[in-house]
Symmetry: C2
Subunit: 233 residues, 2 copies
């Protein structure tokens, strides 16, 4: 049973002495020097979680794709562009991290052969071949000594089913299911609603401002982290 | 010969009584409800031109793709997403417009068959077929009574050659050549350098802040507009 005593958590600086790594925003995958493939992530949820973790006393690093948000006071910001760059930044940081919260909407496909010059339009049609990007979340979760790893699943259909499959397949400690394609919540919105799943159970966080949800989510993460027996500092 | 008396131009509110339509920013073309194709345009050049035209006394409408810029005081903002939406917004406005300045980096290809649900990754490769978007600039310039029409050409290679070809092919009054792929200028930068071409001549505007270049460019546009004999109000 999860009881919300969010105020106490932040007053007690519960995460003092812990390192939290958060990824946020979209990535961009170049088609040519001008064009790219990306997605509708605004980065707001990730920035709100980084801010909440900092307020709870953690030392926070935020690895962010291209977003229109201001850097956060007291949070170390690492700006990246592509999935490949985000993976490299995460792997540089992860060895000393206690909790890894991967909110970024990492592109899972990128052009196989990005062009070195701007493609000139002539033909009526243009075929682009995409290949898979590296799986940052699975890479971290399969490390010999992974941090407590929290993933996000953003889906338009069969959200909970996909989220639970991703939790198991990638060996995550927790996954946050994030409905997209609903007006007013999810990508590019100020509000959201979340389902949080772990091996034994799940909990719903009803629709609220992303800043408020971030605090509630962090509360649940800390409770599960405590029970994981990995609370060492 | 072009003489810069930019201060006089703005003091005299030279464009008072004229309607100026500016497009700015990138467009986004949906692959599925989450993913899209876009480009690196920040919208800064277009917003600076809209601001300068408003300062010169014009009644300005700014049709903008998704950007991270604040609306401009005294400028009517129309927010759009895709090339198709931008075309519709332009055609709604264009009949009463005296000068049309198309700075937007409109996507020239879009997915032929956008998906209604988020594509689930399974395969190692994914082929996307793209089709041409409508050509907003050519559509406007080929109207029976077009406004004075200024296009932009953003290129990584053979910039001037492509720009002059585009000027002639699309029957523009003027084209602004915008080098991209050079660090510190062009897309996503505060500075730029421009070449302005018209049927008989051209002029170079050396590297400067986009706000300053916008004023100089507007000066050249007004001079050419005067000489075009279309200055009627």
């Amino acid at each position: 049973e999860v009881v919300y005593h969010v105020q106490d958590l932040f007053r007690a600086k519960f995460l003092s002495g812990y390192q939290v790594l958060v990824t946020a925003g979209p990535t961009r995958e170049e088609i040519d020097p001008v064009r790219f493939i990306s997605n509708r992530s605004s980065g707001r949820m990730g920035y709100a979680i980084a801010q909440a973790a900092q307020a709870a006393g953690a030392q926070v690093t935020l690895i962010s794709g291209p977003v229109a948000l201001s850097p956060l006071t007291g949070v170390q910001l690492v700006s990246v562009y592509s999935a490949q760059e985000m993976l490299a930044a995460v792997m540089t940081q992860v060895a000393t991290v206690d909790i890894f919260i991967a909110t970024a909407a990492v592109a899972d496909y990128r052009p196989s052969q990005p062009l070195g010059h701007k493609f000139k339009k002539h033909e009526a049609h243009w075929q682009i071949t995409l290949e898979r990007t590296p799986d940052i979340l699975a890479t971290v979760a399969s490390l010999p000594h992974p941090p407590f790893t929290v993933g996000f699943a953003a889906e338009t259909d069969n959200l909970i089913e996909y989220a639970r499959a991703k939790l198991q397949l990638k060996k995550l400690d927790m996954i946050v299911a994030n409905p997209v394609g609903i007006a007013g919540i999810g990508f590019d919105s100020e509000e959201n609603e979340l389902s949080i799943l772990w091996a034994e159970d799940s909990i719903e966080l009803p629709r609220a401002a992303k800043t408020e949800l971030a605090k509630q989510l962090l509360e649940v993460i800390i409770q599960r982290y405590q029970k994981s027996g990995r609370l060492t500092p």
